[in-house]
Amino acid sequence: MKKVSFDHWLKLIIGKESMPVDNDLEWELLLPKLEKKRRRRGIVYWILLPVTVTCLSLMYFVSMQPSSIFKIASIPDSQSMEVNNVRKDDLTNTVIDKKNNQTNILIHPQKLLSQKISKQELFTKATQFKSDLTKNDPSLFAEQDNTADGNSFIEKSQDSPNNLIIFQDSFSINSSGQAPPFDSLSISLLPVSIHGQLMNEQNFSSNLNLIESSKNVRHKKSFKVDMCLLGTYGKLFQSLNGSGNGYLTRKTLERPLDVFSATILFQTDLKSRLKFGIGLDYQYALLQLNQHFLDTVTQILYGVIVAEKTNAQNVVSYDTGSINVRNFRNVSRKLYHSRTLLSIPAIISYQYPLNRKWSLSYHAGISVPVYQEFSGRISNNSLRSLDLDNYGENISRNKLPCSVLYGMQVVYSIRPGIKWMLGLAGSSEIGYWRDLENSIGERHNSLRFQAGLSYRIR
């Protein structure tokens, strides 16, 4: 009988790999251990996210810094609501009455009361404050004696609701029309506001220092800048334009999913309620491709070796062989592709105050795209949903249509200079951007929930 090498024989026997593997069972066991597909977020997301978190933390830290009981308000006229010559300043919690060329500053003393400061104590402190101001700059209250009620620097208002105290300063425009040491513009810088902190010498001196340092800039027009950090999340809409198989396939199988964006916006006042803002916007839009097809499954049915002993010495064996059976199964699967867009938004917003803290803000503007990036695959120019091309392969990265922006927010003033906003924002691309190869036009619109914070940086 023929003899062969043992190693070679082992290889022949074991190397056949004819042992059946229950693929379905093994696959079911393996599946939970495999990585799931994660929705990819662009690198910009991972840059913007920490920046946003850092900015918010800084804003929170700055807002938690102790402030003096008498603080020089740095609120411009445009921030105030003027009704019948009475300007109500939402942010400083004061009401400035400019009747008869006098400035009466009304302060809601709720915070003072909550700090258990008596009115008498407040009176004493306020008088001290006035005296310190005068000591520092004698000309400040030069005309005080000429005013009708110059002695009542602080008094309880007779016709005001309870707990309302009038601070009455004497900065009046004199008859010659010349501006006093602090003119009407500077009056808005002088009012006091309450921040629930006890007044002390240090606070006085810091206030005085502020007055001193602000003297040089008071006659200049104030230029205020708010930094807004906004995050949005919402529904993406896509409209396709074109003809042919590719257009039909994409229109049938593609479904826009969601969009999120992160925006940093710098806003400045144009008029009393009108603001202009410009910044940078990062947008990530996710789309889904549904594929339905018949998958071919080849099943190997292995045979057996039948050994038969014919006599004492001989053994006859038969190999029944193996056959391949082809089956088909219906498969539905989802593929995801995404578009990342960097753009420069420019918006004009109108703020309608509802009360001291709350206001409504409407905005409209335009967004100029600067760069876009694609990932994932989409159906190519054929009816077969299995034929895929890289998304955005033939689309110019730079020549993109602008978007129209619109929306409204509810704005809440947390502290002077810090606002929180929540609302709806929409964007609509003006034109279609095209795949150069199969001329399928694509246009994205979106409607999103928006939330953010605004912080006065200047």
Binding site: M1, K2, K3, V4, S5, F6, D7, W9, L10, K11, L12, I13, I14, G15, K16, E17, S18, M19, V21, N23, E26, W27, L29, L30, L31, K33, L34, E35, K36, K37, R38, D295, V297, T298, I305, A307, K309, Q313, V315, S317, V331, R333, L335, G376, R377
Partner: protein, 188 residues
Amino acid sequence: MLTVKEIQYIIHGCLDHDRICQRKLFDFTSAKVMSTCKRYCTNHEDARDLFQEAYIKIFKSLGSYNHTQGDLLGWVYSITKNCIFSSFSKKKLEIFPIDEISSDDNILIQVDHDLLQEEEVLREIQNLPDGYRIILNMFVFDCMDHAAIAGILGISESTSRSQLNRARNLLKKKLELLYNTKYEKSFI
């Protein structure tokens, strides 16, 4: 066999975590991977653990596969081998040196031993002691020389050589016994 285009499609899909493509690759390679794992393990459960570990590694590192450098099945096989070898270091496998016996790479076997089923032979391999089984697998099936085996297992070349000879003799003895029991026939 899959065409290059099909393979590229499957790889692209696997990198996208597409379950259908992953299943295609799995169906295409599972027999080879499973038989390799079974050869190195003593039981089916251990083999399954290695099998799953190997596939996790395969799907993770599929991006590094280049079809110009070899066929996909070969690449999958090499990943499986690496996975198995790295499991040895995790287990801290100990192979003790034994007295070297005369090395004989030309042990012969009769052809009618083909009548033994693959499963039966595999079971006998699995029942070999750890050191014997692993070194036999590495030398015979993975065509590694003693220097490479010694490097991976952290043993001397002579230990590898002696373990291999003992493994061969033991396995042959076991197969003879099996054959005799089955067919009432002995080796000449």
